[in-house]
Symmetry: none
Amino acid sequence: MESKALSPITIVLVEPAGALNVGSIARVMANMGLDRLVLVNPQCDYLGDEARKMAVHARAILENARCVPTLTDAVVGCQRIVATTARDRTLPTHLEHPREVLPWLLGVSSALVFGREDRGLSNEELNVAQRFVRIPSSSVYPSLNLAQSVAVCAYELYNAAGVAPTVPPTAEPEAPAEALEAYYGDLERLLLDIGYLYPHTARARMEKFRRLYNRVHPSETEIAMLRGILRQVEWALDRKN
Amino acid sequence: MESKALSPITIVLVEPAGALNVGSIARVMANMGLDRLVLVNPQCDYLGDEARKMAVHARAILENARCVPTLTDAVVGCQRIVATTARDRTLPTHLEHPREVLPWLLGVSSALVFGREDRGLSNEELNVAQRFVRIPSSSVYPSLNLAQSVAVCAYELYNAAGVAPTVPPTAEPEAPAEALEAYYGDLERLLLDIGYLYPHTARARMEKFRRLYNRVHPSETEIAMLRGILRQVEWALDRKN
């Protein structure tokens, strides 16, 4: 497993009707280090060709999925339960952002519950949960596809678990200030020589180049490359003299 | 529109092969307040029944999708381009977390580019982008489904548009992609002419320059200045012939 914080989390799908959805969900669960799937009274062939095709390398999650008759059965043994809802129902508690509520599921026996593609969860089912998540979305078309909802939540769980690899530093060392200065010197001489710069405008113009190159933090290799061009231009000019 | 910061962002799919994927992507784009879709040489019937079924209430996005032959055509007029990659390639620049890089696309003409389901983007295609995003995922099964990748990125864009203050405009407008391309073309011709590049090494060498300049996001004035130098060098060489 990727992270011990993710392993006790169960994804619960209540009466999923789309085999493609269930297959996609298995895949994204595997992508995000989750492997416990429980299906409440599934309405599709979640072990059939369509589901397996979408699961690709995550078929084991489908094969190991547990099937139960009701949501209450699905959450036996879970300490923390979050339900997803797209609707601003007359819920007793407020709907929270994924980033706010999902980290609460990490590291304990917990369940994240998703409703039916068309009708979501009933009020009775929502009452099984302690907290509620709503994925922010456009008021013009707020309703996400089930598999997309699971993807977003799984991604947030994975981020929160902190297993995301830290951003690797750039491979190459930045050029030291003196190498940059030497380049600016070479460039200025060449530009004066070819008549792009005039002595009285050189300083102001060169400042613009400095700003451009200082912004990019060139590596030593890159400065060597830029200076190589200048030498080659000089050589081409000399040859033609 | 939901947010003015989202409206100038284009989602670009390079050679998508799954109609179901393209349909799902249209839906999640609508869910997240995005509406510009460009398909580069699509390999599926993105207006057929499968795609329309998955798009549900977002069919207008499919119908208004623009089809173009190459990625370069897709990003004409875009100031900022981010490419997605799953691979820890030997990229010079680092792969960034969605939350880190995607807010940079808000509020300006920009493109978020996704590769083929099976092979992603070629190195040449990756070179069109200035920054690179990698969705964190399990090392056991890192490869996300295309539509799921778009969902995660669209969700992050939507979050960022709602929370993050709009990007402060840089003093000067950034040069559009085609101005950078024109500069690279001029530079390559000159460097071949003076013998700095050889035809068989030109591509690899030019990639290093692209990386350097793509990192700095030159303004229109700066690109004009860089092209001015090239013209002056050419003039100096001609004069001495």
